[in-house]
């Protein structure tokens, strides 16, 4: 297996981008990554696109071909593949690109992720997001996507004494981080009261416990590590990649406060990298809801089960903490254009490890991690990155 490096990253602004179409977003992120990698279009050998539901959001399937076409790389007839794993689509696309390079099949691979969510109504958007859960046995029985996470939160509070305030602290921290990120959807700080007084979505989760609907795209360019220096002085190596699955329905998990898929993917990624949790300086985790970040930092092994809320409250996941979580603002503040999210996480970690994260730079960051989730944890993908 060849060692793989990221040699270029690109990301659009995230938010309600009324004048941007899906293809404009995808091409925008792609062009900035390709220019960052200092490669030319004809060097690209393969394209992977993470996208959850263009068919329902913009009534367009076949989006990998669309992106290849409008990027101007289709004339070379390169393989272009769409990857779908709900919220983990971007992370899994990255893993597909990683495997294509690691295997020796391709040298230069572009991995993009994109979602255009605001061309449908809020209700329609919620319905599309809920299709990541078990449509026939959860959603159609009345469960919404926030509702399923509320079930986790209710149980986490019951089993571990996690408090409503600790959930709020996740949102407060991620907004604080997002305020430092010029690409973030929400660039303003909030306090606990804002979260606790915001409208209820699914008790105990309020609107400020939920990531927004967003438009956006992100791209990374991969190549074999031994070629990386031809393109950049600051390559970042993908040292571990783990993917795992679990039951589609939340109700089939033995424990709804633990995402078994995150645990398995984490173990696989660390094993491949030969690293452990204490080596990680910065992490982008899948905080589509505040409870998700608490569960994530436990399942990733940063904190013991049940102590994620307390760790957040004590500031252990912010700057000067044990591991800085979601410097980008996370899904909560940076935004969550579903298919783009997993790739955007990689973009953030690469920026951190390159030392180009500006005001939100984690000092001397050397090892970073991304955790990207599909549905209520039916898919998890974890990547480990190291500064070269």
């Amino acid at each position: 297996m060849r060692r793989v490096a990221v040699i270029g990253v690109g990301i659009t602004e995230f938010g309600e981008l009324w004048d941007s179409s899906f293809r404009k977003l995808g091409i925008g992120a792609g062009m900035s990554a390709v220019s960052d990698a200092k490669i030319s279009a004809d060097q690209i050998e393969a394209l992977f696109v993470g996208n959850m539901s263009a068919g329902r959001f913009i009534r367009q399937e076949h989006v990998a071909a669309l992106i290849a076409d409008y990027s101007g790389i289709a004339r070379d007839h390169i393989p272009a593949t769409r990857v779908e794993a709900a919220g983990a689509s971007g992370g899994i696309a990255l893993r597909q690109g990683f495997m294509a390079v690691a295997s020796g099949l391709h040298d230069i691979v572009v991995v993009g992720g994109a979602e255009k969510m605001t061309d449908v109504s809020d209700i329609e958007s919620s319905m599309i997001q809920s299709s990541a859960a078990d449509q026939e046995w959860e959603t159609e029985l009345g469960a919404t996507f926030p509702g399923l996470h509320a079930l986790m939160a209710t149980r986490h509070m019951h089993d571990y004494g996690t408090t409503r305030e600790q959930l709020a602290d996740v949102a407060v921290k991620n907004h604080r981080h997002g305020a430092l990120n010029p690409k973030a959807q929400f660039r303003r700080e909030i306090n606990r009261d804002v979260v606790l007084r915001s409208p209820m979505v699914a008790s105990p989760l309020r609107i400020f416990d939920c990531a927004p609907s967003s438009d956006g795209a992100a791209t990374v360019v991969l190549c074999p590590l031994d070629m990386a220096k031809e393109f950049t002085d600051s390559p970042v190596e993908i040292v571990g990649s783990g993917q795992a699955s679990d039951s589609l329905g939340l109700h089939h998990r033995k424990d709804i406060c633990t995402m078994g898929a995150t645990r398995a993917a984490t173990e696989r990624a660390f094993k491949m990298a030969g690293l452990s949790q204490k080596d990680v300086d910065v992490a982008e985790v899948h905080d589509n809801f505040t409870i998700s970040e608490i569960i994530a930092i436990e399942d990733l092994g940063f904190f013991p089960k049940g102590e994620g809320g307390k760790a957040t409250e004590e500031g252990l996941t912010s700057f000067d903490g044990d591991v800085v979580v979601n410097t980008s603002g996370g899904l909560k503040a940076r935004g969550d254009p579903i298919g783009a999210t997993g790739v955007a996480q990689a973009v953030e970690i690469v920026s951190q490890l390159r030392g180009t994260a500006d005001k939100r730079q984690v000092k001397d960051a050397e090892v970073g991690l991304t955790q990207n989730i599909g549905g209520t944890g039916a898919t998890a993908v974890v990547h480990l990155f190291r500064r070269v």
């Binding site: 959603t139 029985l141 079930l151 699914a202 105990p204 109700h251």
Partner: protein
């Protein structure tokens, strides 16, 4: 939009909570599966449809304030994960009660209600929802 046959084929499970029992390991599953995820090929030919009693206890619950269109009239409405007495967990609405009547462990039983309808002219979908019960079968709050 859902179509009639897609719902119709699940009627036994939607109406009567017909699940699946693996006679290789003895475990119950709901909804029915094709094979037992524990016994794999060993379960082939050794599974049977089994009707859940429909009684159980709330494992977790939430009151939903932002829901789908079809639930507008009921908002806010309660959704729970229920651990059935067969040891299987299922998700469904809890009705005819207030969220303050409920806690983790509250006993419930399944009943049949309208789940959704395909507009005013389309097919109506029926399925299980849960109502709280006390041990004697009465509703909570009954004296």
């Amino acid at each position: 939009m859902a179509t009639a046959p897609r719902f119709w084929r699940e009627n036994p499970s939607r109406y009567n909570m017909v699940g699946f029992k693996c006679n290789s390991c003895g475990k119950f599953y709901f909804p029915p599966r094709i094979i037992c995820p524990l016994c794999h090929r060993k379960s082939v030919g050794k599974t049977e449809p089994v009707k859940m009693k429909g009684t159980g206890a709330i494992f977790s619950f939430t009151e939903i304030h932002e829901g789908m269109d079809e639930h507008n009239v009921q908002k806010p409405y309660i959704v729970a994960m229920v651990e059935l007495d067969e040891g299987v967990k299922v998700t469904g609405q809890v009705i005819d009660c207030d969220v303050c009547d409920l806690s983790i462990g509250t006993r419930v039983r399944a009943t049949l209600r309208k789940l959704s309808e395909e507009g005013s002219a389309g097919v109506i979908h029926y399925g299980y929802k849960f109502v709280p019960v006390r041990e004697n079968g009465e509703r909570p709050g009954d004296e």
